[in-house]
Point group: C2
Chain length 381, copies 2
């Protein structure tokens, strides 16, 4: 993997770059659609290509349980299995163990948990094991096992998690063969400035191809998160990509880009697509609202996605009402288009040296809109 910095913003920490992987190039700041089980829900690889997705994320935890890494390896790896020919990043599965499994015990050795599927089978993930799984999957970017902590957490909990995360990162580094794959370390440390710094320094000491920031968007407010990023990101090596895990809303991404983050993933565009909440340039639109029953307009008149070029709000509302999977697909296409186009506009703005201006415009268009307010007769929230 080769990361090339193309441009750094003068007013903010924003930067534009390019990452070359064995499965092609992706441009940063990048958004990675989430393909949990080896499929971005409802979308084919062709859909993703048309949308302009350059890299996707897939979940090690889920693929470990179904269909299993051995099967995917035997069938030629994850790229071939799902027929996605571009780059893939896999997470380590650690976060899902914490958020999904019914019983878990963290020891220095690794994490023991019961599958969230049958609730019975016991599994263990160790640093060596998550590397082995991700090598079987054949993803382009592999991530280390880390220890996630609840929020809020005590300093003692956060410190122990940093120590364990560093120790596991060392073991991952040793186990990792590096044949055509890159390895990212994950910074932990909760909301404690010095622990974040310690975690980053220890990981940089080991040395990774990129640095992921874990343990955010766990319940903290935006101010707290931005402060963590303000303090942490400048410590990370400028020559490596920085990946903010599991974040976030469009505004979260704009803010993190301004602080120097290069890569993002989030289930919001896909999950909200399934729930009928659509992202637009002027805020969010809840397609099931009765107000759209006879609305001939597209979701966003400024949007160029397949959904907006063809279908009315009335038709999308109808599909939502009858529970038609085509509706979920059309919503997902729209939302991912919105996210991917947002990243494109962010990159353009950075490259043209006008990111700060872009950021102001981004907010001014949404002025007066909040997630819980409805604006006039628009049903936009």
């Amino acid at each position: 993997m080769v990361f090339t910095l193309i441009k750094e913003d003068r007013e903010t920490g924003a930067r534009a770059g390019r990452v070359a992987t064995p499965h092609g190039i992706f441009h940063t700041p990048a958004f990675m659609p989430v393909g949990t089980y080896g499929a971005v829900k409802t979308l084919s690889p062709d859909d993703l290509k048309v949308l302009g997705a350059e890299i996707i994320l897939s979940n090690t935890y889920h693929l470990f349980l179904r269909p299993g890494p051995d099967l995917i390896k035997d069938l030629g790896g994850l790229h071939r299995f799902m027929m996605w020919k571009g780059p893939i990043l896999t997470d380590s599965g650690g976060f899902q163990v914490y958020s999904l499994s019914s019983l878990r015990r963290v020891t220095d050795e690794g994490v023991i948990f019961r599958s969230h599927l049958d609730g019975g089978t016991l599994h263990i993930l160790t640093p060596e094991k998550v590397i082995e799984i991700q090598e079987a999957l054949g993803s382009d970017i592999v991530t280390c096992l880390d220890e996630c902590i609840p929020y809020p957490a005590t300093r003692e909990e956060a410190e122990r998690a940093v120590e364990r995360t560093t120790s596991w990162a060392k073991r991952c580094r040793v186990a990792f063969k590096g044949e055509g794959q890159a390895l990212f370390g994950i910074v932990q440390g909760g909301m404690f400035r010095d622990l974040r710094e310690r975690s980053a320094m220890e990981l940089m000491e080991i040395g990774f191809d990129g640095y992921a920031i874990g343990g955010l968007s766990v319940g903290e407010d935006e101010g707290t998160r931005n402060r963590v990023l303000d303090d942490l990101v400048p410590l990370l090596p400028p020559e490596s990509p920085r990946y903010l895990m599991g974040i976030g809303r469009p505004e979260d991404i704009v803010e993190a880009v301004a602080r120097g983050v290069d890569m993002f993933d989030c289930v919001l565009p896909t999950r909200n697509g399934r729930n009928g909440m659509l992202f637009t340039s002027y805020g969010r639109l809840v397609i099931k609202n009765a107000i759209y029953r006879r609305d001939e307009r597209p979701v966003d008149e400024e949007c160029g996605c397949y959904t907006c070029r063809n279908f009315s709000r009335a038709y999308l509302r109808h599909l939502y009402t009858i529970g038609e999977p085509l509706g979920i697909r059309l919503n997902t296409i729209h939302n991912l288009y919105y996210y991917l186009r947002l990243m494109e506009r962010i990159r353009e703005a950075i490259e043209k040296g006008r990111f700060a201006e872009f950021r102001r415009e981004f907010y001014s268009r949404r002025e007066g809109l909040s997630e819980t307010e409805t604006k006039g007769g628009e049903g936009v929230v």
Copy 2:
């Protein structure tokens, strides 16, 4: 609507033709994918176009309940609402009233029923009403309200249904404005040869653009159904298309084509796609079977559909197992491709004067396979 006969088979009743409608041409024998609620489940209009669908069917009963014909009319008609630019045939809703609604009462006036959705609201469909609804939808081919009877039915029941169907057909003919739409009558008469003849004669007396054959595939065996077709079809005017409603399996279609039927619709390819049962040139394949867990082959090595050109049985089985809608879409694409390609091969064979040969080959490839048998290690049923 203009129907042009291109070729008649010498050995069988099979014929190839072409139907011109305001929304384009479709070739016969034709299969119409079923888009119940204004969407062929999981497929976009682009998917249907790529598959080579030339005409689709939509259900008046369902669209009457949701979102309602007034709404669709206000939004520019069904073609524009769902963005399908080709021909559409709508059924009259009669069959769904019989098969879905919880309470119904048939009088000479029409059918009173409770919606299957809320089980409470009372609705009435009269011959005039179903024409009005289909005119609001703007379909290219409109069908008359008919009375469907259970199977088996007494001679008395079948006779009364024929009388009512004729009386309703007259009222439909009177109510029908014919602005850019064609009207099909529906032949009833159960399994009684003389009643089928009477029904056909009475409808031909009224005069329609095409003749649908209703009340088959209701539980009768293949021999009985083929006998009804053998007796009935030669009575129908050769210059009009003949449409066998709701049928059927590939073999049912081949047999009905041999007896002179021109148009078909059936939920089998779409419904079976959702259930993971896939049609192939050598029989049926149940994708959820464990035997496909590691099977790298496409569903049908001879198939040129998007699904078979890209994905393994193992991947489709995985998608089925995790309940991923992409799997349903890929299965539906495969099954509809199979049906539409079958119709293409049937048309080619008729045009080249070798339909009888085609029919023999069709069966010889499936030799030894039945719907309930598994062949060797293939898991084909």
